[in-house]
Symmetry: C2
Subunit: 356 residues, 2 copies
Amino acid sequence: MGPGPSDVPPRVLEALSRPTIGHLDPVFLQILDETQGMLRQVFGTKNALTLPMSATGSAGMETCFVNLVEPDDEVLICRHGVFGGRMAEVARRCRANVTLVDAPWGEALDPDDVAKAAKGRSFKVLAVVHAETSTGVLQDLAPFRTIADSCGALLVVDAVTSLGGVPVELDRMGIDAAYSGTQKCLSCPPGLSPVSFSERARRVLSTRKTPVQSWYLDLNLIGQYFGGERVYHHTAPVNMIFALHEALRAILEEGLEHRYARHRQQAEALWQGLDALGLELPVARGVRLPPLTLVRVPMGVDERAVRARLLREHDLEIGGGLGDFKGKAWRIGLMGASATTRHVELCLAALEEALR
Amino acid sequence: MGPGPSDVPPRVLEALSRPTIGHLDPVFLQILDETQGMLRQVFGTKNALTLPMSATGSAGMETCFVNLVEPDDEVLICRHGVFGGRMAEVARRCRANVTLVDAPWGEALDPDDVAKAAKGRSFKVLAVVHAETSTGVLQDLAPFRTIADSCGALLVVDAVTSLGGVPVELDRMGIDAAYSGTQKCLSCPPGLSPVSFSERARRVLSTRKTPVQSWYLDLNLIGQYFGGERVYHHTAPVNMIFALHEALRAILEEGLEHRYARHRQQAEALWQGLDALGLELPVARGVRLPPLTLVRVPMGVDERAVRARLLREHDLEIGGGLGDFKGKAWRIGLMGASATTRHVELCLAALEEALR
């Protein structure tokens, strides 16, 4: 119940441990096709270029920037936590010129601030974190397409902690590129990063003037393996794909709407319980992220000792704070298979005991 | 029995499917420490910076170049197959100036050619593939340290298809950086890339003038998670580490010397059997790689049809040729758990039947 990895259902672990087969085996290629199809459903998109990158979520972030950005491109990055800051760092390493729009830690970005920064300027990319894992803030993406259009930018979204837990609707929101991780609301082990690129993003990619600086993450090359040609690029992480395939099947069997409702219901129960314990939730209710809740550590409490005790006595992991909240907050995850009444009750009971 | 992934033993698949735990869980951190320790034994090194990168073998190659090379650095790359060519491509994307030394496909490099190219010049890196997976050639690394010293270069080695199958002795050979993959002679599923950097390579890394262009592969950052500080960088692929840990345990239980001997014995049996079938092995015996054997497709035989038939009728995968050998050769792997008498006999019987 930390900020991920979340609990992985037995059926997904079982799929993970199927005998390894070749990355060009017809059976595997069919599983890969089905995985792409299911990822499109969860991302809410028809994007052909929707696939799991063979590395963790942070590599998904890098995939978006190395493929879409060229040296000296102007990039507008919204930062309201660790992961917005990381996007800026990754963009700089692509030799982009980065302009930042900030919001205080624990708050959402004000779209007016973003619009102001975009005004009268031209950007290659506007990037924003949908669900900020470091603070538990859910950013409303509705205003961003208009802002991106006002400055001619591709809209890039970090959906690491939102995908599968709250609605991520790439096509409806006009998002050009998004990335996620498998170990959050998809409830698959860490190791893959689903990404999706719109047709507009693909055109930018295919008309680059310079080569993508990362060979491993170059979607011009990887697209030839995932497309019909099956050109060898690297050996796909076969067993992790088995697991993701099964995790996506479980998600679609549950139904996306039902899954989002479950995350919200369990989060409401957790928030109510934490409130009853007298604990403060620093993030305002309107922008609070159901899959991840920030809890202020009460004065005089040793937050590390509490976490160590939960792990020792209850086999229960919760996360510590990051950045401005380091040492001052806990992060409690209710992601995927971990968003259940049993988890909420265990966590509340264990915290009550530890804080008594 | 293709060029990887190889068969994965049941105990490794079982470890892979253990319940996912947190990447900062003390239990996991101990497994990570043990994994690093066992990797050092298999690599034949005391290098502190020895760890599994969270991506496949190709990302290990990129890790070596992005960390050691800066723009305009001179790099000397030996190419005797696909993977030498890929090193050149990756180095160019790091904006290095690449000088190539070539050997014909199916042959080893002549150290004199390499020494000639190095002579009177200065290079940042000299890179060579130990076991060329595209051709089945094993390169003798003994002369390379002297050549690297003659031009002031770090010696970088691709050990993807050698690690765990033939001796890889980083310290004895004076190798500064090496990378491998888990899905070859380590008999673990694909998804991780073990790398090892010498103290000299670490000094080059820590005194760079420019940031590493890949944030995800930046060993200055990753070293802080694997070192004592455990600074969060990205979420480690927990279950894949469980599997690698178990695969390495199995390797050390067998014993490295015994394992190398087994690979050689089974390869000798395969070569003898192929010879008895009248098939030609294009790679000279002295440089033939036990874990991967190149076989010339007889005149008039449809090589794809044979491979499809082996898969359909015997559940047996062998690989096609690459580069100069595309359509003209098969590649038969005897890697890790796939290097057994049962595998050799199955392959020979199936090939005999298919070619009758």
